[in-house]
């Protein structure tokens, strides 16, 4: 067989790709650890307004989320294009908010029940009327700590259309 061997000149040897899986796995583990899975699918448009005087939200187990906005295009035929509230995975009406908060509160550990925050993730183009209704409902059930969840950014982005 020796006669088939070509003489090897000064060619550079091919780069070994044997460590490629290791590198990829390293990246993989990083993203696996850093990932926070969305726990509910969004059914409403959710382009949050921008603000820069913001504080970080508490730990996840102390927060309950209320989404609101126009139904996303997939649901627009069925639910119209008026802003709606989304609780967990369902569309809801304003009077459901109280029951939702009480149920969420009851599902948390005893010591967390008094420190819960309600994060309002509301689309920027929603009218304040809906938000005021939600706030009134929250006051009724004594869930007084709220957080208007925003993107971080300059406020002037909000006034442009």
């Amino acid at each position: 067989m020796a006669k088939f061997k070509k003489k090897k000149g000064g060619e550079t040897p091919a780069i070994s790709t044997a460590s490629l899986p290791d590198i990829v796995f390293m990246l993989l583990f990083f993203f696996m650890v850093a990932t926070v899975m969305r726990d509910s699918t969004l059914m409403v448009q959710n382009k949050l307004p921008a603000a820069d005087q913001i504080q970080k939200l508490d730990k996840k187990d102390r927060v309950m989320y209320i989404y609101a906005g126009k139904p996303s295009s997939r649901y627009a035929d069925k639910y119209g294009n008026q802003a709606r509230i989304q609780l967990n995975d369902k569309f809801a009406i304003v009077s459901d908010v109280g029951a939702f908060v009480l149920a969420e509160r009851a599902s948390k550990r005893q010591e967390l029940q008094d420190v819960l925050t309600t994060a309002l993730k509301v689309d920027g183009d929603t009218n304040m009327g809906l938000i005021s209704d939600i706030k009134q409902e929250l006051r009724q059930v004594n869930a007084l700590k709220i957080n208007y969840t925003t993107r971080s950014g300059d406020y002037t982005q909000n006034t442009k259309n």
Partner: protein, 206 residues
């Protein structure tokens, strides 16, 4: 038969599998944690006799359904509201026991007596856009933060932290050891400019 060596598993596709998983996690990742403006709603039980608040201690901000601002009965742009709110809060027009020793405002008698007494009342219409409302809230919070910043740096010139950095560090679990040290300093400036921002129930449009 001679002892046969176990055939080696071809690991060439391992990289492909790993890439597939990697891409999946890349797509589903949301690294940033949520942040926003924290607010406290007033409790529902009505006060038997609400305290009388002097009109000059209230800074009224109204956002109408066309997202226009009316501040103290004068139309205003959002960009001006931070300065106007700071002037109101820092006015310090009070006398004797209501005097404000640290205020740098113009001490106008028709504006607020003391930052401790000053209240910003934010009213909106049902048709106000949420975006604009948040922008206004942001600017009002910024007014408080700017004033607190000023007092914080003048009270603690050697700390090497601004008010915002200090309060961020205070809530950061990585700096637990700093908590004890920062708490009194932060509470001091918070007491000087307490955030009294009332969100009134929206007006119905006629």
């Amino acid at each position: 038969m001679a002892k046969r060596a176990a055939p080696e598993v071809n690991a060439g596709s391992m990289a492909d599998i790993a890439f597939l998983l990697l891409i999946f996690f890349l797509v589903t990742t949301t690294i940033e944690t949520d942040s926003g403006i924290n607010r406290k709603l007033p409790p529902t039980d009505e006060l038997v006799d609400p305290p009388v608040i002097k009109q000059r201690n209230i800074f009224t901000v109204v956002v109408n359904k066309n997202n226009q601002l009316l501040v103290e009965e004068k139309p205003m742009e959002i960009s001006e509201i931070r300065q106007a709110a700071m002037e109101f809060l820092d006015n310090g027009g009070g006398k004797d026991e209501e005097a404000c020793s640290y205020c740098k405002g113009s001490a106008d008698t028709s504006s607020s007596d003391n930052p401790v007494k000053a209240i910003i009342s934010l009213k909106n219409d049902r048709e106000t856009s949420y975006k604009v409302y948040i922008a206004v809230q942001n600017e009002l919070v910024a007014a408080y933060n700017d004033l607190r910043e000023r007092e914080f740096t003048s009270l603690n010139p050697n700390i090497g932290l601004s008010y915002m950095e200090a309060s961020k560090r205070y809530s950061d679990p990585r700096y637990v050891s700093d908590r004890e040290r920062l708490k009194p300093l932060l509470d001091e400036v918070k007491a000087m400019y307490p955030q009294k921002l009332s969100e009134a129930e929206p007006s119905k449009n006629n």
